[in-house]
């Protein structure tokens, strides 16, 4: 089974609204990462948060991490139509050599 699971599976919002996606994982991690994938393309790294960090910002992105609940959230503020994509969380597990992904959240931003 996969380490990370995103919630919701699909999200549709209007341009200008905020989008929040959640990720839950099962085992202890060194860090957690969020990636974006446009249709038909490879994944692009967005942000990495270490296990000793609780919150991290990058532009319009805000990531939180709660290791006690084994969960993370990705907030995209003031969304744009260009933010339409699939978003995945990924964790380093086990010996920290495996990079394991969740099933993703499909975000649609309507103009």
């Amino acid at each position: 089974s996969q380490q990370g699971e995103e919630d919701p599976q699909a999200l549709s919002i209007q341009e200008g609204e905020n989008a929040t996606m959640n990720c839950s994982y099962k085992t202890s991690i060194n860090n957690l990462q969020w990636y974006r994938q446009n249709s038909g393309r490879g994944l692009v790294h967005l942000i990495l948060i270490r296990s000793n960090e609780r919150e991290k910002h990058s532009g319009r992105l805000r990531v939180t991490l709660d290791t006690s609940k084994k969960s993370s959230s990705l907030l995209i503020t003031a969304s744009r139509a260009a933010d339409t994509a699939s978003y995945f969380c990924a964790t380093y597990t086990g010996s920290a050599r495996q990079l394991t992904f969740g099933s993703g959240t499909q975000l649609t931003v309507l103009p």
């Binding site: 996969q2 990462q33 393309r41 994944l43 692009v44 790294h45 995945f88 990079l99 969740g102 099933s103």
Partner: protein
Amino acid sequence: DAGITQSPRHKVTETGTPVTLRCHQTENHRYMYWYRQDPGHGLRLIHYSYGVKDTDKGEVSDGYSVSRSKTEDFLLTLESATSSQTSVYFCAIRKDENTEAFFGQGTRLTVV
């Protein structure tokens, strides 16, 4: 963009034939990964490598083998392709445990 190239980008093959996909990097990164992506399953790890000739199995390794004889190349082989291996395959590279991964553009494999 990180120097990572997958080849071929598209391939159609027949059931029972062997197929090799190549991932080539110019970054000298230690870690390399092969994933498959299918609707409803996200990315699932097939095999990974943490150095030359050092590889290990991922979540869905049955029917796949890998080799890494040089830092820059990580080969994924389907010994005898089956229709269930029709998928999009992604390669990723990573410098170390605390850095992000960079992905190739993917290989769309169809087994008929």
